[in-house]
Every structure is written in structure tokens, then in C-alpha cells.
């Protein structure tokens, strides 16, 4: 149950960080994100978590034209927690007893990855204003390489088939 609670709280945090005006298109999108959250809590293995994050990002883009560093970082961490909690919650039904050690390990790793991402983006941020910077080109190339590597890794992971065990019977 706890992974689903983390999912719901993180999704709520994303909507609250955008803080849309209630009577507006952004407010409607935020409400849609909240409805999607309920759907994602019920079915974390479906496209619901993706829809929630997408709607929250749309809400964010409309409502927050010029965010500060802390708010952006918090939004990123909350979004990644929605993704990570949904991945864990998809492993079993809500009635599963979750081992505390698993929760600690899983969310500590997710938090560490989110913080690492924030540090990387924050560190490359000052480069964005510089023209003809070699460091900016290098960071851009690195990012492009990582993004290109992702589909390759996804493709390679579709591999292992069944493992044959036991003795083969002779005719």
C-alpha cells in the first residue's frame, strides 16, 4: 500500500507545485491530473502514471512561466517519484505486505537518482548562457548520446528466453 501512497502524494505535489488558478485551462488540466492520480493508484501498471506526469507537466508549462531553481528541482523530484513508486506498486496488488527494507532501499535509490539529476542539470545550467562554449557542446553531445543509448538498451533487454533445466531424455 505504501508505494501507492507515495505515488499519490508525489502526484499531488506535482499539481500543487504548478499551483494553477482554479478557473482556468490550467486548473482544468490540474483537475485532470488529480483524476488521473486516482486511476494511477488503482492501476499503476497502466498508462495512468504517464498520463498523470504528462498532465502535470502541461499544467506546469501553462501556470509557471518562470520557475526558480528550487521549485523546478522539487517538481522534477516529485515527477521521478511518481514514476518510481508506480514501477514498484505494479509488482503486486494493494494487499501486499511490503518489507520495510525494500521501501528504504527502493526510495533511497530513487531519491539519490533524482538528486543526481538535479545536480547534473544545475551544474550544466550556467553553460546555457554562454555562446561558442566547448563545455556546452560537450554536455549537449553527452545528453544526446545518453538519449540515443536508451532505445538501444531497451531493445537489447528483450532477450533472455527460457532456461532448460534437468536432464535431456534419450529416445
Amino acid at each position: 500500500m505504501i508505494p501507492r501512497v507515495v505515488l499519490a502524494v508525489s502526484a499531488l505535489a506535482m499539481v500543487l507545485l504548478a499551483w494553477p488558478r482554479p478557473i482556468s485551462f490550467a486548473g482544468l488540466v490540474g483537475a485532470g491530473a488529480l483524476v488521473g492520480t486516482a486511476w494511477a493508484v488503482g492501476r499503476p501498471g497502466s498508462v495512468a502514471p504517464l498520463a498523470v506526469i504528462a498532465l502535470a507537466v502541461l499544467d506546469w508549462l501553462i501556470s509557471v512561466p518562470d520557475p526558480g531553481l528550487l521549485r523546478s528541482a522539487a517538481f522534477g523530484v516529485a515527477g521521478f517519484l511518481v514514476h518510481s513508486a508506480a514501477a514498484l506498486a505494479h509488482a503486486g496488488p494493494p494487499g501486499f505486505a511490503v518489507q520495510p527494507a525494500l521501501l528504504v532501499r527502493w526510495f533511497a535509490r530513487a531519491g539519490a537518482l533524482a538528486l543526481l539529476g538535479v545536480v547534473v542539470v544545475a551544474a550544466t545550467g550556467p553553460l546555457a548562457g554562454q555562446r561558442n562554449s566547448a563545455a556546452l557542446v560537450l554536455a549537449g553531445l553527452l545528453a544526446a548520446t545518453v538519449l540515443a543509448a536508451l532505445p538501444v538498451l531497451v531493445h537489447r533487454r528483450r532477450v533472455p528466453g527460457p532456461v532448460r533445466t534437468g536432464r535431456r531424455l534419450r529416445p
Binding site: I53, A54, L61, F80, A87, W106, L113, L150, V154
Partner: protein, 433 residues
């Protein structure tokens, strides 16, 4: 068996990283990169670093034969190198699960090369064969981006023996049969069971002479000699006839209420164990969804066989009419027949009466629980129940008039008074009605 497959989380990470990265560039919103960066780093790091192996699942039950009320543990052992989390679902029979226990758990994957062990407590709450499993395991790797399973595999059966009721009888069986055993026979013979002192007769052994009594009687002055009289010890044949065609009342397990079948099965097990420990031969005929016949035999193996037969008892699905109660064939006339029945229907009364008329000593054990009532389905249910009880009482009285003792099972010493009466009746002149 399937291998590791990408999950929705991997496609979500890829879609969000690609889509939001493009949006960040097109809309000039670098703040979106705070979400893109951990998604991308997590996916690349997880997939590049993790090489999960093929999981293997084992189920070990500490004891697969338990008496009712005993406690055991099932261990699920999962070898899943590289897995970050394991969802282990082990459904167990409701008669094996402790109250409030969950049969599913989400546990951390192995931190080293060793297997992950999940313990599932078991409490044997009711007799029968109960299943543990099949175990369903789902493994997650690379932060949930890869999944193995759900794979449903191994299962075990736990046999719960119906042995909580102890029966400690003291009375002899009415008509002992075999040449060896512990029951007193009406015939005189060599044994340590002293029944009195009688006058010496030709053929008596010298060592049986009671010198003290003989001297007092003046044996040295030409008076009579006296010897110790004893009776022969014989074993008996007991046939347990279990009527499991109807189950009355609801079962709450060993620590709750007992249904009619519970009482009958536990009483049968207790009686069988008692008589087999005495060295008697015990047979069993059960009438439930099928008729099972275990011929009379003695020894510990017979008890094991008998308990195995009891474990498979299931009341049949009665659609219409009364299921038949087959007459036992080839029954020794001197066998003690113990009929365990809730006394529902008409056939059981007819069968008990017929066996009594054939000369068998028959004891009927009433296994209908006092608090067994049918579900109230209409305003007429209560009235119908009262009428049924009156009709049943009438039949019970008719059977008792034929000389068939009917007792309710109360455990220790339930049958003692009945067996004593039957023994006396057996030694008296028989009048067949």
C-alpha cells in the same frame, strides 16, 4: 517459463525522457530537464548495470503431516540474482492460514548472491488435505524497468490428521473374537486376568492351585483343592461405519465450532487409535461422495491407512433424494459395529436396525451438533426444523427400542457405559425380534 521483459515503466521513462527533452528544447524550458535527467540517468544506469539471471523458486514445508492444532512454517526460497524486488504470492488453504495472515509479500531482492527466503506461518486448523501454493513470483530489476513473471510454480500438500480428541475407554468389547489380545473372553483360559477361585478339576495345572485357600479348606485332611480361575484374553474386530453423506452445521476448525462431519471424523480417528493400540483389528467403511472400504486389520500401518481414508472425506452434493447407505458385506457376526452418523434421513435407521437384527453388536454415535441449524430461507424454516427434529426423535426412540444404544460423542469414555451394557446383553440369552 518466460524471461525478463521490459515493463511499462521502461516505456514510460523512454517516452517522458524523449518527449520532455524535445519540449525543453522547442519551448526553451530548461526547467523540464530536472525531470528528464533522473529518468534518463535511472534508465541508463539501471539497464547498463543490471544483468538479472533466471530466477528459481523452491517451496519447503517444514512438516507435511500435522495433527490438528499444530503449527508449521512454509519457506519460499527464491534465487533471483540481480533482482531489486520480489513479489511472492503464496495462497494457502483457509484451514492452514493463521487469522489475519497475508499470503503475499513484496520483499527486497538478494543483496548478495544468496537466495531470498520468505516464511509463511501455517496453523493446521482442520483435518484434511490442504494445499500451500502454487507460489506466484514476480521479480523486478533495474528499478522496475524489467520484470520476470508472474510465474506460477511449485505447490505442496499438507495432510492434517484428525487426532485432537482422545478416547480412553475402559469397557471391553461385547464379543471378543481372536485368540490373542487384551479383551476378556467369556471363556476360561490361561491368562493373568483373575476372575475367581474354583474347585480343582482334572486337567488343571499344578501351578494354578491356590494353596492358601486349599489349606484353609482342609486339603491336607482330604478336603477339596482349589485353583485360580482366569479367563482367556482375546482381541476383537471393530468396524467403524462413518456416515458422511450429510454435513450438519458449520466448521470453525479445531479451535472453533465443529460440524457433524468434524465430530464424526475426529471420533472415528480416536476410536480407531484406541482399539488399534489395544491390539484389535479395526476396519472402516465411509459413505460420503464415494464409498470407501478399508478391511479390518491391526497395527500402526492400519491407523495410517485409516487416517488417509478419512482425509479424503467430502460430503456429496445432494440434489434430490437420499444418498444410499450400502450394507457392509462379509462382516464378521461378532464384530462390534460403531456407526457414526448425524442420523439424518431414513436409510441410516433402517441400516442400523438391520445389522442389529442380524446379530451384530451395534453402537450408534450421534454426531449431529446441538447447535446445528439450517440457514433461515423462509418463514417456514423454523417450523420445518421442529417437525424434522420430532420425526428424528421418533426414529431414534424406535431404534433404541430395538436395543441399539445411541450415544452422543463426548470424547473420553463416551462408549464405556454402552459397551458394558452390550457385553451384559451379549452374555444373556438372546431373543431375536
Amino acid at each position: 517459463m518466460t524471461g525478463w521483459v521490459p515493463t511499462g515503466a521502461l516505456f514510460r521513462a523512454a517516452a517522458l525522457a524523449g518527449g520532455l527533452g524535445a519540449l525543453a528544447i522547442l519551448l526553451r524550458r530548461p526547467d523540464l530537464l530536472y525531470l528528464v535527467a533522473p529518468l534518463t540517468l535511472g534508465a541508463v544506469w539501471g539497464l547498463a548495470r543490471t544483468r538479472p539471471g533466471q530466477p528459481r523458486v523452491r517451496l519447503l514445508v517444514e512438516a507435511d503431516v500435522l495433527p490438528e492444532g499444530a503449527v508449521s512454517t512454509a519457506h519460499i526460497e527464491v534465487e533471483a540474482p540481480g533482482a531489486a524486488a520480489l513479489a511472492v504470492d503464496t495462497p494457502a488453504s483457509a484451514w492452514l492460514r493463521p487469522a489475519g495472515a497475508r499470503d503475499c509479500a513484496l520483499v527486497a531482492g538478494p543483496s548478495n548472491r544468496g537466495p531470498v527466503r520468505v516464511a509463511l506461518p501455517l496453523v493446521a486448523r482442520r483435518w484434511g488435505r490442504h494445499g500451500v501454493g502454487p507460489v506466484t513470483v514476480t521479480a523486478l530489476a533495474a528499478d522496475g524497468l524489467l520484470r520476470w513473471g508472474p510465474h506460477t510454480g511449485v505447490e505442496e500438500t499438507v495432510r492434517v490428521l484428525p487426532l485432537p480428541d482422545r478416547f480412553d475407554g475402559a469397557a471391553d468389547v461385547p464379543q471378543a473374537r481372536g485368540a490373542l489380545g487384551v479383551h476378556r473372553s467369556p471363556r476360561s483360559g490361561d491368562s493373568a486376568e483373575l476372575v475367581g477361585i474354583r474347585q480343582y478339576a482334572p486337567g488343571d495345572r499344578l501351578r494354578r492351585i491356590n494353596w492358601r485357600v486349599s489349606l484353609r479348606a482342609g486339603a491336607l485332611r482330604g478336603g477339596d483343592m482349589y485353583v485360580n480361575a482366569s479367563v482367556a484374553e482375546r482381541d476383537a474386530e471393530v468396524l467403524l461405519l462413518l456416515d458422511g453423506r450429510y454435513d450438519a452445521g458449520a466448521s470453525g476448525g479445531v479451535d472453533g465450532r465443529s460440524s457433524g462431519l468434524d465430530v464424526a471424523v475426529r471420533a472415528t480417528a480416536a476410536l480407531a487409535r484406541f482399539y488399534l493400540q489395544l491390539g484389535d483389528r479395526v476396519g472402516l467403511i465411509t459413505h460420503s461422495d464415494s464409498v470407501l472400504h478399508l478391511p479390518p486389520a491391526g497395527g500402526r500401518r492400519q491407523l495410517t491407512r485409516l487416517l488417509e481414508v478419512l482425509l479424503d472425506l467430502r460430503p456429496p452434493q445432494v440434489v434430490a433424494g437420499e444418498p444410499a447407505l450400502v450394507a457392509p458385506r462379509g462382516l464378521d457376526p461378532r464384530s462390534l459395529v460403531v456407526l457414526l452418523s448425524p442420523l439424518v434421513g431414513r436409510t441410516v435407521f433402517d441400516r442400523a436396525a438391520a445389522m442389529t437384527r442380524m446379530g451384530h453388536p451395534v453402537v450408534v454415535v450421534d454426531t449431529l451438533p446441538a447447535d446445528a441449524v439450517p440457514p433461515v430461507e423462509s418463514p417456514w424454516t423454523e417450523l420445518a426444523l421442529r417437525l424434522w427434529r420430532l420425526e428424528r426423535d421418533t426414529r431414534v426412540h424406535r431404534l433404541a427400542d430395538l436395543g441399539v444404544p445411541i450415544v452422543a460423542w463426548r470424547g473420553t469414555g463416551s462408549l464405556d457405559a454402552v459397551l458394558r451394557d452390550l457385553g451384559r446383553a451379549g452374555s444373556a440369552a438372546r431373543v431375536r425380534r
